[in-house]
């Protein structure tokens, strides 16, 4: 179709064509098109079939307020093609169609509508019970819009932005731009959000009713230039607001343009003041077949011509309830549409200039008339109009029926911001009774339809917003300026055309008709909010944009309510947003130890553990045989840099340690580390580690990897009432750790330091500081987590690669090997050492793990965290106890986490492995106390044991080197 090329209002570039693929053919739109306008220009009129009745559906609002034109685009279902910019090469497919859009095999559903009254599936399809699964299956198949594959993955770049502004203006029409300019002129930083790709709102394509004044489209472009020239205003187009929260937090989702490098962007704006100037959408006119392709709203028809250069039809009938309808009729007739008549539901109140213009063009204006029915199976062929009383009726052959009952303010942003709406008799709108603190409204939303009034109300809102931000402003002058313009017009009150309502659709998305609403009311659903749910009116993707205004009016009218109508609720997101946009950029943010690269070089296989990436294996062998044997028989080295490392110093440092550790920390010495644990207020173990005194009132201690992030918070929390004087330094990232373990560890260490590391000079649990090679400063601890002679070498992170290389080189003659997390896990398990979180869970206390010896009960004055609960739990017989277990079949180790059962669950396996050192399958389990005696036989159930329970028995721990000779030697 050729376009109207020389209109000053066009937002397309007709010279730049873009291909898209639809129904096996390549079609062409032009730059600036949306997917829907490109298809419409190509002759497509039926964009899909409706949810329930498979009725043909076409362009209706052009703002994505209904699911009529949702299609699958590039494999993404339910894309709102009316608002999606056309991109070259898009592949578009129809939805909910069996056959073709014009000949849908399921089209017969439309004739079955008498059998599908409101809520029929709730009320009918559950008796007998067996019918439900069948009905569910066939309904699901016949109904529903887009289809999504379980393998579907959202493609695109998603990101988040967190912005601050003094004033956030929602809506970039004349009122919104005026508000933004007024606020910016007082020196404030303003963010302006606009859902469409350009500023201007409904002025963008209109000339206005007053033919002597500057055309509205020119005025809106003038305002847009002023906004662009104002550096204090940041404009976000294609950015509908989706939510509002406390303290004026506004959320929005921005769709990226072709060259912007992002698909959608979630934006959170914190503003001191918010101005909502979202204007109006149209209130759909309810008449028979009001959903037929060829029936469209005023703005849709007008914008098709003025913005996209497409004539919406050849011969048109208008049935409207507001002046914008008359204006569009005049303008479209000017552009070449033959307008047969304009039925206006209002008896009077029309703008005299528009009435004159219609008369001049010979277009009959039928006051008090309304469309009653659209004819034509797949597209409008004829329209019937009647008087609003239904007494006189005339028919016109036409291919376009422009229908709109009136205007509906877009109050969603105000509702989610916390405003309560009430029916306003003058405008017929649901308007805010009172606005929340720091929120203002402006423009056509409040009924200020006069162009001058729209701008003045915007400026007034901008000035009031500036006052919220503490600016001294002259709001009296702004109020006076607004008062000089005509006030809000009386709105059209027509609820429905005088028809039966069988196929007068209140809600397109869910195929809900006027009749369905009446049925719901007859069944006792009296409140719009309940009717909405029972008759499914406004639950679809359009989120109430189509039925939101009509439903309460209809319900009030049908029930002959004397009380004013009550609106239904809207919720965020106000427009559909991809979950991917909320999720934002999915960057894997993790920490790497200073030795990460070196371990990568050595073939480390990394796994995410908490915030860290750690080497789990150094070969394909998940049993880690060689890594384990190296530590048991020679020497191995492990990167333990993820350990939490802290310094606490100050006069009350010891008090703080006494509070959180269960042991008596006064016994912590300067040449020996002390192993202890922290409990929570329930006595459950949360952390373990070692502490050493490194100076007067100065301690160094370690925590487990997972607790490092919460340790400062924990200690400060439990000392918050004490006003103690101590300082905590988190050294976790500042220091790295190498665990050098195995019978040859000492020989290796001796070769790289002058310090005496003999068993006499540096015994088990000792703490020494020395330099490696005379220059690398090391804090060394003799520990034995893996059950062998081992040295934990703590050094500044920057020295770690050098230290690692030095140790590796010195260990070469002894066959030193890297070992990873899994090898360490097996080694320490054989020794009966616990890892918190693996041998414990939330309910596991210190005593359950057999670590009661750590607890010093004498230090009652320290008010140790957990001590009270431990005392109370001491005699509790119903607790789980940590025991060693051995599988009867050494080649069939039970999986971690499998359950120990008899006739009920009696415990679970914590860690269990086939031990290459011992040639037995051993591990640790938490079992009920009566099952904890050595020799007790246990049965284990796991997922894939095929009902065949695994057999095990309780055995003493540790399994390896029970006397600790190797560790202490």
């Amino acid at each position: 179709m050729s376009r109207l090329e020389h209109l000053p209002t066009l937002r397309i570039d007709p010279s730049l064509t873009l291909p898209l693929h639809y129904r096996g053919k390549t079609r062409y739109g032009v730059s600036g098109d949306t997917v829907a306008t490109a298809l419409f220009a190509d002759g497509v009129r039926i964009f899909g079939r409706s949810l329930k009745y498979h009725r043909p559906r076409g362009l209706y609002s052009l703002d994505g307020e209904c699911a009529n034109t949702t299609m699958a685009v590039d494999g993404v279902p339910n894309v709102r093609t009316e608002t999606t910019p056309l991109v070259s090469g898009m592949r578009v497919a129809v939805q909910n169609v069996m056959g073709f859009p014009e000949f849908d095999v399921m089209g017969f559903m439309d004739r079955l509508s008498p059998f599908m009254p409101a809520g029929f599936y709730y009320r009918i399809l559950h008796k007998p019970a067996m019918i439900w699964p069948l009905a569910l299956k066939s309904i699901r198949k016949a109904a529903g819009l887009g289809k999504i594959s379980p393998d579907f993955r959202t493609i695109g770049t998603f990101e988040e932005r967190y912005l601050h502004a003094d004033v956030c203006v929602v809506g970039g029409g004349a009122a919104g731009m005026s508000a933004a300019l007024a606020a910016a002129e007082s020196g404030l930083r303003v963010i302006l959000l606009e859902a469409r790709p350009w500023l201007g709102g409904c002025w963008d394509y209109r000339s206005g009713a007053d033919s002597d004044a500057l055309p509205l489209y020119e005025r809106s472009r003038e305002l847009a230039r002023e906004v662009a020239d104002e550096p204090r205003i940041r404009v976000f187009c294609r950015t509908p607001m989706i939510g509002a929260y406390n303290d004026n937090l506004v959320t929005a989702v921005q769709s990226g343009g072709e060259d912007e490098g992002f698909t959608e962007r979630y934006i959170e704006i914190r503003a001191q003041s918010v101005v909502v100037a979202t204007g109006c959408i149209e209130r759909p006119l309810l008449f028979e077949n009001n959903d037929r392709p060829g029936v469209m709203q005023v703005g849709c028809a007008h914008r098709l011509a003025r913005t996209y250069g497409i004539l919406p039809g050849k011969t048109a009938v208008f049935s409207v309830g507001h002046d914008m309808g008359l204006e569009a009729a005049v303008d479209l007739s000017e552009l070449g549409v033959e307008v047969l008549c304009v039925a206006d539901a209002r008896e009077d109140g029309q703008h005299p200039g528009l009435v004159r213009a219609l008369t001049e063009r010979g277009i009959p204006l039928l006051r008090g008339w309304v469309a009653a029915r659209a004819f034509g199976k797949r597209h409008v062929k004829k329209a019937a109009v009647t008087t609003v009383e239904g007494t006189v009726r005339r028919e016109f052959a036409c291919d376009l029926l422009v229908a709109s009952a009136g205007l509906s303010p877009v109050t969603g942003p105000l509702t989610v911001a916390g405003a309560r709406l009430a029916y306003d008799v003058h405008t017929g709108y649901f308007l805010p009774e009172a606005l929340p603190c720091g929120v203002h409204a402006a423009g056509r939303l409040l009924g200020w339809n006069d162009p001058g009034a729209a701008e003045a109300s915007g400026r007034l809102a901008g000035v009031r917003a500036a006052a919220d931000c503490g600016k001294t402003v002259d709001s009296d002058a702004a109020e006076a300026a607004l008062a000089a313009h005509p006030g809000p017009e009386s709105g059209c009150k027509l609820v429905t055309a005088p028809v039966a309502g069988k196929k007068a659709f209140v809600c397109f998305d869910e195929d809900a008709t006027v009749k369905n609403v009446r049925q719901a009311i007859d069944m006792g659903f009296d409140v719009p909010e309940l009717i909405k749910r029972f008759a499914a009116v406004g639950l679809g993707p359009g989120q109430g944009g189509i039925p939101g205004h009509n439903l309460p009016l209809l319900a009030a009218r049908y029930r002959a309510d004397t009380a004013p109508p009550r609106p239904t609720t809207v919720r965020s997101p106000l427009v559909p947003a991809l979950i991917a946009a909320y999720a934002g950029a999915q960057r894997d943010m993790c920490k790497r130890t200073p030795l990460h690269r070196l371990q990568e070089r050595d073939g480390g296989v990394f796994r995410r553990t908490g915030v860290w990436k750690r080497a789990r294996y150094f070969s394909d062998d998940t049993e880690c045989r060689e890594e384990i044997l190296a530590v048991r028989n020679g020497v191995g080295m492990l990167d333990a840099s993820t350990l939490g490392k802290f310094r606490i110093h100050g006069p009350d440092a010891l008090n703080a340690l006494q509070r959180v550790y269960v042991s008596d920390m006064r016994k912590v010495g300067s040449d020996r580390v002390k192993y202890s644990a922290m409990c929570n207020d329930d006595g459950c173990v949360i952390d373990d580690g070692v502490a050493v005194k490194i100076g007067e009132n100065d301690y160094y201690f370690t925590t487990s990897t997972g607790r490092a992030g919460a340790t400062v918070e924990w200690i400060r929390y439990h000392t918050r009432f004490d006003e103690w004087d101590f300082h905590l330094v988190n050294l976790t990232d500042a220091l790295g750790v190498i665990n050098l373990a195995g019978p040859d560890a000492r020989t290796v260490l001796e070769s790289i330091t002058d310090a005496d590391v003999s068993n006499e000079a540096f015994p088990f649990a000792g703490y020494r500081t020395f330099r490696v090679d005379g220059w690398i400063p090391v804090r060394a601890m003799r520990l034995g987590f893996v059950g062998e002679l081992s040295f934990e070498l703590h050094a500044p992170s920057s020295f770690m690669p050098a230290l690692w290389d030095r140790v590796a080189e010195a260990g070469k003659p002894h066959g030193i090997r890297n070992f990873g997390m899994e090898a360490q896990n097996v080694l320490r398990m054989e020794k009966g050492h616990v890892i918190l979180g693996q041998e414990s869970e939330q309910r596991t206390n210190l005593l359950d793990l057999g670590l009661g010896f750590l607890w010093d009960r004498s230090k009652t004055d320290a008010a140790t965290v957990g001590a009270v609960a431990l005392e109370q739990a001491e005699d509790d017989p119903d607790r789980l106890t940590l025991v060693g277990i051995e599988m009867d079949d050494p080649d069939r180790p039970a999986k971690d986490g499998s359950v120990i059962v008899d006739d009920r669950i009696r415990g679970y396996v914590c860690t269990l492995r086939r031990s290459v050192t011992l040639n037995r399958a051993v591990g640790m389990a938490l079992v009920e106390a009566p099952l904890s005696a050595p020799g007790t036989h246990l049965e284990i159930f796991e997922d894939d044991c095929n009902g065949q329970r695994l057999k095990a028995k309780v055995v003493p721990m540790p399994f390896y080197d029970p006397e600790g000779k190797r560790m202490k030697g």
Binding site: Y162, Y245, N246, D247, L249, R270, D681, D682, V712, E713, R716, Y717, R720, F721, T860, A863, A867, V868, A869, Q872
Partner: protein, 86 residues
């Protein structure tokens, strides 16, 4: 996050930066003669009042201090301490 909190050190900041530390229940009770019931109540029982509540918050992504502030749980807004609170 819509909640904004005022850290005594860093000022008014976005709620994302803080960790909730529960209702303020005062210092721990004396341990002498403390019944398991009383201890459990102190640790686990909350008033869960609808309205002004004095709470502990930790400025995790900031200065790392624990502080108390008042929040109206019905509006999720930080508020001035009620006059009869202290």
């Amino acid at each position: 996050m819509s909640l904004m909190l005022t850290c005594p050190v860093c000022g008014r900041r976005n709620g994302y930066e803080f960790r909730y530390g529960g209702e303020d229940k005062g210092p721990r009770p004396e341990e002498d003669g403390l019944t398991p019931r009383a201890w459990c109540d102190y640790v686990h029982m909350n008033r869960c009042a609808a309205g002004p509540v004095k709470e502990w918050w930790f400025h995790r992504d900031g200065c790392g201090s624990w502080f108390t502030t008042w929040r109206d749980t019905t509006t999720n807004l930080e508020i001035q301490p009620p006059e009869d609170s202290e």
